[in-house]
């Protein structure tokens, strides 16, 4: 009954709203086209999510034999498991491949555009076509596209946050929806490690800004929502106390101190007043927070510290936003600063915090939620620009967007594969396929060990051995590196030892091999990165 209602509402939303349909088509195209091959290869995390979905589908257990876990141990990073379960049906239908692994995130990205449309409409009712503008800006927004293309749990988490925000806003009209809102918010925790901070932030802001409205909600529904949400969140909250959240501390800025000689330089009588360690952390956090708002990150270079988060020489916003965003701020703040404006502005200020307290100086994935306030504000710029300059404005805006989208599409579809294939760990698939085909010919196979977790690519691209042999031959050390799989060993390349292993097959990156390896070995295959210049792997056989 309820679902039926929802579908009717959805039909209403779509029919008679051909512009929205058009925008959604654009969104779908930008998120689905060549999804299997751009980005050019799977990261270890993507492969792990896909393989675990496959494993759940076939056996009901994860790669370690755990039955239906809520949190997957994976490489020892303990991934919250919702993404895996969302992937299961796609793997069932399309088989285990790049496409099926990435599809949940891509679909989440398309649905996110609808939710942004709905949120914009319910936040800002008297601003004409703001909803449509926001949907368009969201559909073409690089930040959202980057993380919709690839198995990024953060993107599904973002969708759930949007759903949580939307149903929260609607709950003032239909109080039951607060239950739905709380369920969505708490399920972000099941999706993404970083949600612990970013979701709490959004919920806290909603609490503060909408406190009066919340107090008028029916207590019964709030309590139901809290209980349901609590049950969902419980497994994740408990990890904080049993050490499985250890990965957070690796990424936390507080795990990295100033070197003693740096402190020495400032050890004068004013040390505690002007140079103390907490102040130093505060400076580091502020700097990372500023980075999210820098031109380099937003428009020109993107996340230089994590090249797989963005496209080369392209930021997380379109170049057209260089014009529409400042304009958007202007028209945004021209309004009386009611709750909605305060909420969006505070969200803009606070959403980057989870990136700000992390080790990396920039991180597009940890600051992903910031995309939403940026999109909303930028669409203010677009709507009022069109309103003010009408036809001329339309022509100018069209030109700006066509140029910017062309530049972005070129950066993404041409240059991500050609320029960044090494960062995307290109070559593992090709190497694995070669090894698997020739596996029976060799007694000993050595595959270079690395934190790229080569074993997961064997499981992903040759899942038959996975399901049958996995539990027997998987030796896990606590750091999370797999030592061997069947007759394939994962080892550091020690050439002095290996060169005497006559007849062994070695897969290694050229930097790990001596330049004159051909004295002792035959080169069987060379796998090049997509820049057609650098070599990812040499597959060699010891003479």
């Amino acid at each position: 009954m309820k679902i039926n209602n929802f579908l009717i509402n959805f039909k209403k939303l779509i029919t008679g709203n051909w512009l929205l349909v058009l925008i959604l088509t654009i969104a779908a195209f930008l998120r689905l086209w060549q999804l299997g091959s751009v980005p050019p290869s799977l990261t270890p995390d993507e492969a792990s999510l896909g393989y675990n979905a496959y494993s759940i589908l076939k056996t009901g257990k994860d790669e370690y034999g755990q039955s239906l876990p809520i949190i997957f141990k994976s490489f020892g990073d303990y991934k919250p498991g919702l993404y895996v379960y969302l992937t299961v049906p796609f793997v069932a239908v399309f088989g285990l491949n790049e496409w099926s692994t990435r599809l949940p995130s891509a679909l989440a990205g398309i649905v996110a555009v609808i939710l942004i449309y709905l949120i914009a409409k319910s936040l800002f009712r008297n601003h004409g076509s703001l909803g449509l503008a926001a949907a368009f800006v969201a559909a073409t927004n690089p930040w959202l596209i980057y993380f919709s293309r690839g198995a990024w749990e953060a993107n599904v988490s973002l969708l759930l946050v949007l759903a949580g925000v939307y149903f929260f806003l609607r709950s003032f009209e239909n109080q039951k929806l607060i239950i739905l809102s709380l369920i969505f918010f708490s399920s972000t925790l099941l999706t993404y490690q970083g949600a612990k901070l970013s979701t709490v932030m959004v919920v806290a802001l909603l609490l503060v800004v909408y406190w009066n409205e919340i107090r008028q909600l029916n207590k019964k529904y709030v309590v139901y929502g809290l209980i349901l949400g609590g049950i969902i969140a419980l497994p994740i909250v408990s990890t904080i106390f049993n050490g499985q959240a250890g990965r957070l501390s690796v990424f936390s800025i507080f795990s990295y101190h100033r070197p003693p000689e740096e402190i020495q330089k400032y050890s004068d009588s004013y040390y505690y007043l002007f140079h103390s360690e907490p102040l130093n952390y505060l400076r580091a956090i502020t700097g990372r927070w500023f980075n999210v708002f820098s031109g380099k990150f937003l428009f020109f270079e993107g996340d230089t510290e994590n090249p797989i988060h963005t496209a080369p020489y392209q930021g997380v916003l379109l170049l057209a936003d260089l014009f529409f965003l400042p304009l958007g701020f202007y028209f945004f703040f021209k309004n009386k600063l009611q709750k909605e404006y305060v909420f969006v502005f505070l969200w803009l200020l606070f959403a980057p915090l989870s990136a700000a307290i992390s080790r990396d100086t920039t991180s597009a994935v940890r600051s992903l939620n910031t995309a939403i306030p940026f999109i909303l504000i930028s669409s203010f710029g677009l709507v009022y620009f069109l309103k003010k300059f009408r036809y001329v404005g339309f022509v100018i805006a069209t030109i700006f967007y066509i140029l910017a989208i062309t530049y972005f599409a070129d950066a993404y579809f041409v240059h991500v594969p050609a320029h960044n294939s090494n960062f995307w760990r290109y070559g593992y698939k090709e190497a694995v396929q070669y090894v698997v085909q020739n596996q029976s010919k060799y007694e000993r196979i050595v595959f270079e060990q690395s934190f790229n977790q080569p074993y997961i690519y064997f499981l992903f691209y040759n899942p038959k051995i996975g399901t049958t042999v996995l539990e027997k031959s998987l030796n896990i050390k606590d750091v999370g590196l797999v030592q061997s799989l069947d007759n394939i060993e994962f080892k550091q390349i020690d050439w002095q030892v290996l060169k005497n292993e006559h007849g062994a097959l070695i897969v290694a990156s050229p930097i790990s091999l001596p330049p004159d390896f051909s004295k002792d070995a035959d080169l069987l295959k060379e796998i090049k990165y997509l820049n057609d210049r650098d070599v990812a792997f040499d597959i060699i056989k010891i003479k």
């Binding site: 007043l273 708002f293 031109g295 380099k296 020109f300 062309t406 320029h419």
Partner: protein, 544 residues
Amino acid sequence: MTNFFKKYWLIIIIVLFAAFLRFWKLDTYPALNADEAAIGYNAYSLIQTGKDEHGNSWPIHFQSFNDYKPGLYFYLVLPFVKFISLNEWAVRIPNAFLGVLTVFIVYFLVKELFQKERLALVSALFLAISPWHIHFSRGGWEVNTATFFLTFGILLFLKALKKPSTFTFAVCFLTLILSLYTYHAARIIVPLLGFGVLGLYRKESLIKNNFRPLLISSLLAILLLIPLAKDLVSGGVFSRAAGVGLFADKGPINRINEQRGEHGNVTSLVGKLVHNKVANYGLAFFENWADHYHGEFLFLTGDAIQRNKVPETGQMYLFDILFLTVGFIVIFRNLSKSWKLIIWWLLVAPVAAALTFQAPHALRAENMIIPLVIVSALGFTRVVDWLRNKNFKVGLWLLGIFMVWLFGRYEHIYWSHMSKEFSFSSQYGVKELITYIKENGSEFKDIVVTDRYDQPYILFLFYLQYPPEDFQGKHSLTSRDEFGFSTVRDFDNFHFESINFQSAKEQYPGSLIVGTPGEILKEANIIKRIYGTNGFEYFDIVAN
């Protein structure tokens, strides 16, 4: 007179405070750098001989290290060299004084624009304590003098609008033109700002009602610009400007080739359409421009070049981020013409810096600070009003403590850490070295000095007060290095080169060899070690 003090006592205190921050120990800290020595010595040379160090008479741009420095500031220094002799004070007083005066000008400018006494006072105070403005007021920084002329010119324009006459417009144009003679960047900023102002005030029937005065003063302005224009098109100046310009950076070109290559085929049409010089240099420009608004630059660590900043401090204070945010929101809510002028100024201020390949650049974009402090001051007044209305006394106290603390931190780092952290940002130790050589160097045949620290010859000329007539025509400039600078290797019995101790020992018997501690071998006959005021060992002197 007492009325005057009654009316203006607050701004007088602010200006005195600004003067204190700018003049305190101005002669010794930071140490004189090579550019300042060049300004002083060329002024000295003009007084003595009517020619600059290289024998050019009364130039508009000074050849100096072949970087062709804009000349006006040299002429401002000239009377000071004449009357208080060639020393650090003479080189630095004009700029520090104009820096103080800028604080005063900003007060009047804000009053003229917004008719708000309090806003004007806070703006002046914020400029008085601005790390950006203090830094470039303390030393012979031409840019700060140009910023003074620019700010004064804008004020004069607003005054001229009220009382249009040939005289008022002419004075306004003259002031702006002086800034063009003072600093390269002003040549781009002033026209941009000028067009913006004219655009904003076009509806005051500016041109229609004041056609005659405007025409006459414009003709006068053009007349005054002819010498500058003539000098600019002459080879040396232009090539220096091109050397630091955006197009001197080959990065965007290399990137074009890389990007076209990634299209699989360098001649592909899409590749050429998307990746070309217009696109890549355009993007480089906008990126440089946007870098000047980066929080890291403005509020946290400042410029990349050590000489242009103090450690661990932004170009502004951290509290400015709060006030600027509030300020902009207030401005956007009611965008008056005066605020449009300020916003336009803020937008065009870094354009000249963005046209060079180093960005963000605190020096070239210094004039940004004027609109920034005004917006920040607006934010401050609003925050204080809000706290007062809520009767939130604790908040006011906390805010005050936070601001005083940040100001204290800046001053502490400026005086206690800057010269130690950035020990090569200025020519520390050179004065001490020359003092020693003056006393003890006469008995040596040659004096060989390391060229490790930036243009030593000019500091020797400066501190020795070496007779310019003995220098002109008797030295040669080297050809330009990779950064476009030349230097002088020899004059009199001084030789400036990088010291290879063994060969210098053989080449210059009976000489005094001055090298860095790294250049001088430990077992050498070191007769003196020279330390800078920061306690850092800069030179070891060997009697050969």
